[in-house]
Symmetry: C2
Subunit: 486 residues, 2 copies
């Protein structure tokens, strides 16, 4: 039942190893039959759905570093043990805790010219207002670029509230997010450097519903914000935009309690299916346990937790150990800056096992169908993915390119040279819910989750039962010289 | 350009007046041409849209009896005067003010077994929790009927929080609302009578988004609640339902500040187009100015304010006065129990002009297309509406029955015998937004509003330029005896 890739390797050796695509590797009939059976079982499984239901109900919101996130780790350990995983453990790491304060609700209101409350949320890392709050004039910027280029008088923003109005557009790949997110991650610096009393932004995300979109800010050079920074919901941003268009001077009052609370402990939860022949070779599949505090983190990333766990459990249930070890990692503290992922990578540096990670992938983009298989592997291994794609195609999955990462929590490992692959999910409406109170379990469609599990079970099986080295080879000529190092 | 209804009257007199439908009255060519021109202008007009934008932006939320609602009256007076209406005036009335307290945000959380904050809103009229809040066990009722029938031990609900889980289903007519609303209006009595410490309900409305749906409770026999009563959003109700299904005892903490604040002044804003031939005959068209406090009341009922005002203004702009007076009334304090509508009716009783109201209608069901013309008039006048329907049909409007009311604020007048008619709007998604923070201006489609204005302009013109008496006649035989009384 192993993926005897001798045939594939032979095929590889028979073609010139220089540039251009390599011939598709063939996957043995036996492996394909086993993978197909896993997929069929996946399509019938509600395990991922039930795991996500359990996590989002029994824990609910689980902000990094809080007691809720610690409860999520306990939940995960118990769950992995109950499902029969091996080597279940928690790897603790320290982190700096930031919280919103007393409640998920924050007090923001237009005071002039048209008094009304706004729906808003502090951005991760923001400072509180002074006790009692602040009230200041809005200076309106139609885009983050306009703020970057702002060359008004030195004191033009002094004591004011900077408002940035960029809009995000929806896409299956979610590709508008990075651009739209600049105001969220870096807006505070531009505002603070110009003397502003605070930052307000139109929520990142594509929703027209009245939810504010939170998310972490960036802290270049370890500098932390001294000002409050909040996102208002799209309808509230529309209000601000309309009032601005009327030529009115606008004042807004805020009172927030956000801040850094000191060092706390978080952790990554790890579970394995130990490989039969090469247990030291690790296929790492992951998701993250933490979520933002305003929703229950069903799409981000309860769904991922359910999907990768259920896929691994299917492989276990089929009764055939893969050649390599499958390691499921549920990362802590993803939302606040990949803190768990960095801790994991650092620990692997320390224990010298980075190179044992043959490939990695994360599920962290909601619960819609997988529509594409992308890879980020050595050119010689592209054919393996092309062959895998032929098997996944019956699930409606296209073949993507070979420049893919593996997901947010895979970034530190990828930076250390671990090959990556990804099952890309349809993200067209992901940013309708992401990082808002509306990221809740009812948004998940069970059949779509099952399609994910089917795809992940096949994908993980093919990767774990293979002996292909996915790492890029320094020189094309090396490829012919025998086994690459692990 | 009058609707010379001699022909229609003649047609009417030529048929037996006993039972069953009468022959469709014909509308004169001249009137039909004028009405069609009004509709064409309506389809091109963005006045309703702009008025709703202005009201919802420049006033925003306008809870009955608050300074915001008073600002809305000032806005309406100024608007009517600018648009050239006649007899613009405010009729004040006293009312009891209820408010939520400090903020639209309320503190509700599950404390056991799975601590997490919930999105909730006090129901109108609810009491506050004691200072510092309460924490109590949830007793779960799958439906309001289950609560009604609850015959547990006398103290089974003593000190507990009653939760009622009824779901509402969507319909074009919104017909599921009344049934689903029973738990909101009457649940507090059933809970309080059984010694409960408070009431929680699954939000009325059809939305799966994480918004709680507010709305007034009922107070039979002038009794006021002594307990807090709140709705939680659908996803939060799902959580409670799931935890209940697990067999877990559940505890919830609340801290609310809602309460009655004493007598204040509200008002109805009135404006007219005075009739050319029978100015004492009044066609009353209305909408309500107040809204709930959690949204900006764009669909409920900023849209109605825009629609009826724009329709009347189109008639004015066409330069031909109708035979009768068109009276536009923007009612105050609708949401809290038709307080403005009752005050209006009482004032007409006092000034003896109830019978001068020949027919009434209100726009208060959002901003989607009108799909049906319904009437509630004397049998002899059904033919008039059938003929009107033929003219409205090009807007995609069907003919409804003859047992219709005129809308919420028309109820007191209808009870005094004023005939009613209604342009029914598509309400399929009205309860996605209604009474939630998500009732905001961006939800309105300009083209749909314009269709409303076109329909209302035709409808109002036909009614106001007619001399048909729409009142039911005590005996069929009376119909042949000449002019009915006004």
């Amino acid at each position: 039942m192993r993926l005897a890739l001798a045939a594939a390797a032979a095929a590889f050796l028979s073609i010139p190893v220089q540039t251009g695509p390599v011939q598709a590797a063939e996957l043995p009939e036996e492996a394909r039959v086993h993978a197909r059976a896993l997929a069929e079982a996946g399509l019938e499984s509600d395990l991922a759905y039930r795991l996500t239901e359990s996590l989002t109900t029994e824990i609910g919101p689980r902000l990094a570093g809080t007691p809720q996130e610690a409860r999520a780790r306990d939940w995960a350990v118990e769950m992995f043990n109950e499902l029969g995983f091996e080597n279940v453990r928690v790897e603790d790491f320290p982190m700096d805790l930031w919280t919103r304060g007393y409640s998920i609700f924050e007090e923001v209101a237009i005071t002039h010219p048209f008094p009304q409350e706004l729906y808003a949320t502090s951005l991760g890392g923001a400072a509180a207002t002074p006790e009692g709050g602040i009230e200041a004039e809005i200076v309106f910027f139609d885009s983050f670029d306009d703020l970057l280029e702002f060359d008004g008088a030195n004191d033009a923003l002094e004591g004011k509230l900077v408002f940035v109005n960029d809009r995000m557009t929806a896409a299956r790949t979610g590709e508008g997010y990075g651009w739209a997110n600049r105001k969220r991650t870096l807006g505070w610096i531009e505002a603070e450097n110009r003397g502003a009393a605070g930052l307000l932004i139109r929520s990142v995300g594509t929703s027209s519903h009245r939810f504010a979109h939170t998310g972490m800010m960036s802290f270049p050079a370890e500098r932390l914000p001294g000002i409050p920074a909040l996102a208002v919901s799209a309808p509230d941003a529309d209000q601000i935009e309309r009032i601005h268009a009327m030529g009115e001077t606008m004042r807004v009052a805020l009172r927030t309690h956000a801040g850094w609370r000191g060092e706390v402990t978080s952790g990554n939860v790890i579970a394995e299916i130990v490989g039969a022949e090469a247990p030291e070779e690790i296929v790492i599949i992951g998701a993250h346990l933490d979520s933002w505090d305003n929703g229950t983190g069903a799409l981000d990333d309860g769904a991922g937790v359910g999907i990768v766990t259920a896929a691994a459990r299917l492989i276990m249930d089929a009764g055939v150990r893969p050649r390599r070890t499958i390691r499921v990692v549920l990362f802590g503290a993803e939302e606040v800056g990949l803190v768990g992922a960095r801790a994991y990578a650092r620990a692997r540096m320390e224990d010298g096992t980075v190179d044992q990670h043959v490939i990695g992938s994360e599920s962290d983009f909601g619960a819609r169908n997988v529509w594409r298989l992308s890879s980020g592997v050595g050119e010689h291994a592209v054919g393996f993915f092309d062959a895998m794609h032929e098997e996944l195609e019956f699930l409606g999955i296209e073949r993507g390119g070979n420049s893919s990462g593996g997901g947010p929590d895979m970034i530190p490992l990828a930076a250390m040279g671990v090959p990556m692959a990804r099952l890309d999910q349809d993200g067209t409406d992901y940013f309708e819910f992401h990082h808002t109170p509306n990221d809740t379990f009812d948004k998940i469609v069970p059949e779509e989750m099952a399609q994910n599990v089917a795809a992940w079970a096949m994908f993980t099986w093919f990767l774990a039962d293979s002996d292909v080295d996915f790492r890029a080879r320094p020189e094309a000529g090396d490829a012919e010289e025998g086994e690459p190092a692990q």
